[in-house]
Symmetry: C2
Subunit: 369 residues, 2 copies
């Protein structure tokens, strides 16, 4: 059962320092919470969202009206059980659902647009930790994230090792590969090639780069699915017709589906945020931040880790998770790792994979060995 709430928005008193050397003033963080915080504050779970995700992990989305993006995982009696845990999910900085991002107003009263500083995954995590500070949560029961959310969980574990007891990283990576960067660059070029982008100054002009953003989303969406999944779901089936049209309409279901995904996305997401967040992901290389050796990133960690990958995920394939597991082993950190079989590709972490539910529940509630 999902509920719609207006997110709480917290304004940080202090400037937020950034990896670029700049700092952000007046940062606002929009967040949702679920479940009751225990008096000793020991039951807080921070869920970190993915590229186009948001804080509405288990609440209806205020723009689309759709249920929260992880409603199957988070709620009363669910694997992340809000009868037991206090769940926090915040919109990352750079995004567009209430936290400070390129669409937010700068000190001159105009939107930052491309004056917004380029941020990193670590900068996003700095924002999340600042939120935890205000909420008085010194140590999380767990930090949990899939995809870019997993990058944040890893970054938190590496840079703020005292802040989480458990780190659950699903379908993620410790660095963006050349292929990952390449796909993101296609998306950025699609946005920037749209004349309505106007060098990012489209706010209030009545024109926005919806076409470019839609193409970016379409290209990215393919990478979230598996070849097998696409074949199973669509194959070469035609859309609402008996025969090929010998034209350029969406003859095939997969074309129609992609167009729908692309145009729907523009209703809820800001193109400049897409530029900034993809850039942050491309910049992510946890080893590089720690002298080039990934194990050193986890040297100070006292957390337990759990890594999950999916066999059909070709965006962040199992080898990327295994790479992290090896580094954790080298750092002497306790880690469990499982590759799950699921047909949905990278998006498996969001979809119906009962084995994932068991892993999540087991890791969060299991007795320490």
């Amino acid at each position: 059962m999902s509920t719609t709430t207006a997110s709480t928005i917290l304004r940080l008193d202090a400037d937020l320092p950034l990896d670029s050397g700049q700092a952000l003033s007046g940062v606002e963080i929009a967040y949702e919470t679920y479940g009751v915080l225990a008096p000793d504050r020991s039951n807080a779970i921070l869920i970190c969202h993915a590229l186009t995700g948001d804080q509405y992990v288990a609440s209806d989305h205020p723009v689309t009206g759709k249920p929260g993006w992880w409603i199957r995982m988070v709620g009363p009696g669910k694997p992340i059980d809000t009868d037991r845990f206090h769940v926090i999910c915040a919109n990352v900085i750079g995004s567009c659902m209430g936290s400070t991002g390129p669409a937010s107003l700068a000190s001159d009263g105009k939107p930052h647009a491309m004056r917004f500083p380029v941020i990193t995954i670590r900068d996003m995590v700095r924002g999340l930790v600042a939120l935890l500070d205000v909420l008085g949560i010194e140590r999380l029961h767990s930090v949990v994230g899939g995809s870019m959310g997993g990058m944040q969980a890893l970054s938190l574990a590496a840079n703020f090792p005292e802040r989480a007891e458990r780190v659950l990283v699903i379908a993620s990576t410790a660095r963006h590969s050349a292929q990952n960067i390449a796909f993101h660059e296609v998306g950025r070029q699609a946005i920037m090639a749209d004349p309505n982008w106007q060098d990012g100054n489209y706010y209030g002009t009545g024109r926005s780069p919806d076409n470019g953003l839609s193409v970016a989303r379409m290209a990215a969406h393919i990478t979230y699915l598996s070849e097998e999944g696409l074949t199973e779901k669509f194959g070469r089936r035609l859309q609402d017709r008996e025969a090929k049209s010998f034209g350029f309409d969406a003859d095939f279901q997969v074309e129609s589906y992609l167009r729908y995904q692309g145009s729907g996305f523009t209703q809820r997401f800001d193109a400049n945020s897409y530029l900034y967040i993809t850039r942050a992901m491309d910049y992510f290389d946890l080893a590089e931040e720690h002298g080039g050796r990934l194990a050193d990133a986890f040297a100070g960690s006292t957390a337990r880790f759990c890594l999950v990958s999916f066999d059909s995920d070709w965006l962040y394939p199992t080898a990327e998770s295994r790479h992290i597991v090896h580094a954790l082993n080298a750092a002497g950190a306790p880690v469990s790792f499982v590759e799950l079989s699921a047909p949905h590709g990278h998006d498996s972490f969001l979809l119906d994979v009962p084995a994932l539910d068991r892993v999540v529940d087991g890791f969060l509630t299991g007795v320490q060995p």
Copy 2:
């Protein structure tokens, strides 16, 4: 050694019938030949080009000045030995290097643009066979093609089974998968979203959809390479700088490379041709043309077949070639099949893979068993 020649252009007397039910009048086919045709016309090899290829298989490209796209494979003493064989390579209809396509003038003296009929791989082959008719070549020694060229080779074998003794299909497929269609649809949407596309009527306006075409090429180009190849070639190395710029320049080599590939492509290719040829590939389903059973496509064949796939090709993976081999086996056609190990992904068929040279040479010159 490459030589530049102006292509010969042949004008067909008869209309070319199309799968759409339409017909094309006054079709022109631009082609190149290499080597001497034997008096008994028994040594002709037809090479079919890929999506963005052309007839300049072993001659310098007249626009880019670059060597022919298969210069390493075709020439005196090369695996396709022009001291021995008469090689023919023609620009497919729908393309833009001299054969009739959307940029060609229609009967009203204006470019066809989007009035050009949607064509299929079989239509392309009809054009090639018409060319062979004029050249007086009743039976090819071999038809050879990689990628979309392989689709044409298969289509020729299925629809004109008496026209080729040997059929060599490299890194190809008998049907476009949902994922293949999806990537092409992204490219088409990128082109059509470019305001300079002007519903296809950009010829002579001084504006052409270069941005959209460039994005389309970038997205496609990723699919031609392997994740491993990209990592080996670029990894996360920076382009002409010591540190990240914290901006949206091409910080990473892979970004710079992709942008170069995209913009370079617009110098030599027509956006509408890209729409039409990708559509033809998406429509390709050889089994569907033959009652739904791929083996039936080859029922009348007397040719020998050779299929080659590459282990790093995720665009047309080995399973697609194996699917064809099984159908040929079911049809009782003699076929050899090899999966080659090469790091370059789909583009391996164009690159330095000595094992491919040996397979090609062996198949073309080997004694019949």
